[in-house]
């Protein structure tokens, strides 16, 4: 199989509210999309790296971090890294924007 980068339009930027998470399912991948106060949009795999899992889209957003709603882990939206003292990594996706359309690059 050949892997290709696909750019998938997912949502209109103007419909996104700041400090909110959206869950988006692209085929079988669940993605959590966040718009933060400064207007930037980030996409992470919608799954907490905590061993017990759980979604991230409902977490509290603060600056460029989201808190896992189940275990309160603090996760960077920039690189998906779990902040100390906890450890872990969430897969991130590249987000692009053209005019009002937000794309996720898979």
């Amino acid at each position: 199989m050949i892997t290709t980068l696909t750019r998938i339009p997912v949502v209109n930027y103007s419909n996104l509210k700041a400090r909110a998470g959206y869950s988006i399912k692209i085929d079988n991948t669940e993605i959590a999309l966040f718009k933060v106060t400064n207007g930037k949009v980030y996409a992470l795999e919608n799954r907490s790296p905590h061993p017990k899992g759980g979604v991230l889209s409902e977490g509290l957003v603060s600056g460029e971090y989201v808190y896992c709603p189940f275990y309160d882990w603090k996760i960077s939206l920039l690189d998906g890294k779990v902040q100390a003292p906890d450890e872990g990594q969430v897969r991130t996706f590249k987000v692009e924007r053209e005019e009002d359309i937000v794309f996720i690059v898979l």
Partner: protein, 804 residues
């Protein structure tokens, strides 16, 4: 899951479990047996308790909640009496048998009690656990004269404590010098002089041979036939590994339970850690090496491979006010050692470093221990000292900040927990910490003996530079984003007239612009409480359940629990619930603990439609608010009933539903003292009696089981409503966010609450604020159904199929 059993619920064992949970939270089903009737507490701090610096509640390291959260089965007050190593199971003194795949023995040690006549008399104790401590505190209330046997660390700390408790104290020591295993004669004599000036009396080179008295001790007799009076005798001559259960079960024991470099005993799948274990012929009696052992053991058990434990060098400090000393490594010179010394008799400062072949092999510091971390590092890392100035130049006038600037990142700051300067600085910088409390929480530094706290504090000051606020660093702020306490925050909100979460965080200079999961929900609550009906709730500052108006479950599905006021329903409502459950394929329909029906396993995107079809109000089964009012059948049907409990329950639930409270609030109403609604363990419970109602408060049926206290007895249903409104509002205004009523009443005192609520005018004012607050609430499920924006933002699952 594999079964892990641990015998002993003490410092080394529980730390090992913490390490295991860190590595592999799902691998084991964990059971812990602890002989003492407490969760794991900080034994080190018993000295501080005796000295009056802290209390029992504050030294709990792992509260019962911690065991719960990590699903650890804990049996306290239960002793394991036998290990069946063939069948792989342990048997407790209560006959409980638990099987294991892996077994950790962490039974610690016992005080060594001299085997002399009279040692079993009343008033003779060791110094090891809370019980010993309580006994000493009690004795001090009644008796005047204490004798401590043993002039080592433990004995001197006990003696200092007893002095603080108002007793006259003699310390009996067998050797000519105090702490002879840690100090050389010079340091030892300085120490003795200091302690004598504090009021301790020393009886040196005395061997106790008998304890005198009838039932209770009255004195001691020494080998030289001299005698001394005593009402209390504390034996602090040493500790003895607690190996009994291991030995009886066929595990190889020498001085301690013998383990190899992986903490394995002579029996497969059985490990030992802590003061009960003997490693390379050493039994350690300080937590730092034990915590290292715990780390190795956790790795061995979880991963299979581990870095072997190679033993530790330990450093000692004495926790007595006014005494500053540190000692590590070798004490005495031999032909191959050279000493470096400073002795300032005038200021009472003495420092000696023992070297061999350009390496530090021993340290004794008295009166000034600020070099201790540096020297200890040089000793443990075997750094070559040629050309290095060992003691800081006294004339340079270098302040604490320079010391910290020049301290290498890998220097150990917290010996107990193995935390380096680098780790502390990193935590402060990356997580925006500003208080000592926060640093301890994030890094473990300071969580044991606490002696590193001044150093951690200096590092905090140094790292924060100008932003450091000394007073603020010491107090408990609401979270790491600010240095403000709850009271200060409330005062600021009121005086500055702040009206939104965002404004609070900006104006009060939160160091984390948009807050965190601790402060944002709290600020949102306080604003709503202060501004009554004028505050617009910030939904995104609520955590997931309250934000979604549904409980999120582990797999990301939600539950729907509609109101069923007072647990009373109708056939029509039941039909509706049944239809909705069927239509949406709800996986579980269950009666909840709160007398109503819950639908569990609902998909997020189905929530609004289900709510619409149910057409019932939200039961708020998820909120920091009134949950349910359980009622008994009462006078309407029950022959014992004296009051209409259902009617009162329904009125209460209708009035106070949706109200934001600091934590969840549950109520119960029974129509007679048989109390079928279990009102005695509710935040507020009502019990009908002839001609009135009893109101019970601060009950709790959860983790901290607590029966309610009688607040008052009133006559009519109207009186009940009035008193309840006032009580709830007073709780709302004075409790910390996330403080249950049971904890709140214990903190402020039941009598205080009674006194406040006695005054009719106060009650009227409280009720007025309550009523105004209640005006603002609207039904959230209905709101979601009506409002597309809310639906899109919170309840939509966007699914995209990529054409293939």
């Amino acid at each position: 899951m594999k079964k892990l059993v641990m015998i002993g619920n003490g410092m080394a064992g529980v730390r090992t479990i913490e390490e295991i949970l860190k590595l592999s939270p799902e691998q084991f089903e964990i059971t812990i047996f602890g002989q003492e009737p407490y969760p794991n507490y900080n034994r080190i701090k018993l000295s501080n308790i005796l000295q009056g610096d802290t209390n029992f509640d504050e030294i709990i390291i792992n509260p019962l909640d911690w065991y719960k959260e990590n699903r650890i089965q804990l049996f306290t007050g239960e002793t394991v009496v036998k290990i069946d190593v063939e069948a792989k199971q342990v048997i407790s003194n209560q006959g409980r048998e638990v099987e294991y795949d892996d077994l950790i023995i962490a039974t610690g040690s016992n005080s060594f009690i001299l085997p002399i006549p009279g040692a079993d008399k009343i008033g003779v104790t060791g110094f090891r656990d809370i019980q010993d401590c309580e006994m000493m505190i009690k004795s001090a209330e009644q008796y005047k004269k204490a004798v401590v046997i043993g002039g080592g660390l433990l004995g001197l700390e006990a003696a200092r404590g007893l002095l603080n408790l108002g007793m006259k104290v003699d310390v009996v020591h067998l050797m000519p010098h105090l702490m002879e295993r840690q100090l050389d004669p010079i340091a030892s004599s300085l120490l003795r002089a200091e302690l004598e000036s504090q009021g301790m009396n020393f009886l040196m080179e005395k061997e106790t041979i008998e304890i005198l008295g009838d039932e209770r001790v009255t004195g001691l007799r020494f080998k030289d036939s001299s005698e001394v009076e005593a009402d209390l005798v504390v034996m602090a001559i040493g500790i003895k590994s607690n190996t009994e259960v291991a030995k009886n079960s066929g595990i190889y024991v020498n001085r301690g339970i013998v383990v190899n470099d992986f903490m394995e005993t002579s029996v497969p799948n059985a490990y030992a850690v802590g003061e009960c274990a003997e490693h390379r012929e050493i039994v350690y009696g300080l937590v730092a090496p034990l915590y290292e052992q715990g780390k190795v053991l956790a790795e061995r058990i979880c991963v299979g491979e581990a870095k072997p434990y190679a033993g530790s060098v330990t450093g000692t400090q004495l926790k007595v006010a006014g005494v500053d000393l540190f000692s590590a490594g070798e004490i005495f010179e031999d032909g191959s050692t050279k000493s470096i010394m400073i002795y300032n008799e005038y200021d009472g400062i003495y420092k000696r470093v023992l070297t061999r072949n350009n390496l530090i092999v021993g340290i004794v510091l008295y009166g000034d221990t600020k070099d201790s971390t540096k020297l200890f590092r040089m000793l443990t890392k075997k750094e070559d000292i040629s050309g290095v100035s060992i003691f800081q130049n006294e004339c340079s006038g270098a302040g604490a900040n320079d010391d910290i600037a020049s301290m290498p990142n890998d220097e150990l700051v917290c010996g107990c927990n193995g935390v380096t300067k680098g780790a502390i600085v990193e935590a402060i910088q990356t997580q925006g910490l500003t208080t000592l409390d926060q640093v301890s929480h994030c890094t473990n530094a300071g969580r044991s003996c606490g002696r590193c706290k001044p150093m951690v504090s200096s590092i905090l000051a140094y790292t924060l530079g100008d932003q450091f606020d000394a007073a603020a660093a010491q107090k408990t702020s609401i979270c790491g984003c600010t240095t403000l306490s709850r009271e200060e925050l409330m005062a600021e909100i009121k005086t500055k007239g702040l009206t939104s979460v965002k404004e609070v965080m900006i104006v009060l200079e939160w160091n984390n612009e948009e807050g965190c999961t601790k402060c944002r929900p709290a600020i949102n609550y306080y604003l709503g409480m202060i501004h009554l009906d004028e505050y617009k709730d910030d939904r995104d500052s609520r955590l997931v359940n309250e934000k979604m108006h549904a409980n999120i479950q582990k797999d990301g599905t939600y539950s729907v629990v509609p109101r069923m006021y007072g647990g009373v329903t109708t056939a029509a409502d039941l039909k509706k619930i049944a239809e909705v459950a069927e239509k949406y394929n709800v996986p579980l329909v269950k009666l909840t603990g709160g007398q109503r029906i819950g639908l569990f396993g609902v998909k997020k995107e189905d929530l609004p439609a289900m709510w619409e079809e149910l057409d019932m109000p939200s039961g708020y089964a998820y909120g920091k608010t009134l949950r349910t009012v359980k009622t008994c059948v009462g006078a309407q049907f029950c022959r014992y009933g004296t009051q209409d409990s259902m009617a009162l329950g329904i009125e209460l639930e209708k009035k106070f539903e949706r109200l934001d409270t600091p934590h969840k609030v549950k109520m119960g109403v029974s129509a007679c003292p048989r109390n079928c609604s279990e009102a005695g363990i509710k935040d507020i419970g009502f019990v009908g009696i002839d001609g009135g109602w009893e109101i019970y408060v601060a009950g709790n049926g959860g983790v901290d089981l607590r029966p309610g206290d009688l607040l008052c007895t009133v006559k009519t249903q109207k009186d009940v409503m009035e008193m309840t409104g006032a009580y709830l509002q007073y709780y709302r205004e004075t409790a910390n966010y996330l403080e249950r009523t049971s904890k709140w009443v214990e903190r402020v005192g039941l009598d205080h609450v009674k006194e406040v609520l006695e005054d009719e005018e106060t009650r009227r004012a409280l009720n007025e604020r309550m009523d105004q607050t209640l005006k603002k609430y609207i039904e959230p499920w209905n709101e979601a159904i009506q409002n597309e924006e809310i639906q899109d933002k919170y309840y939509t699952q966007h699914t995209i199929k990529v054409g293939e």
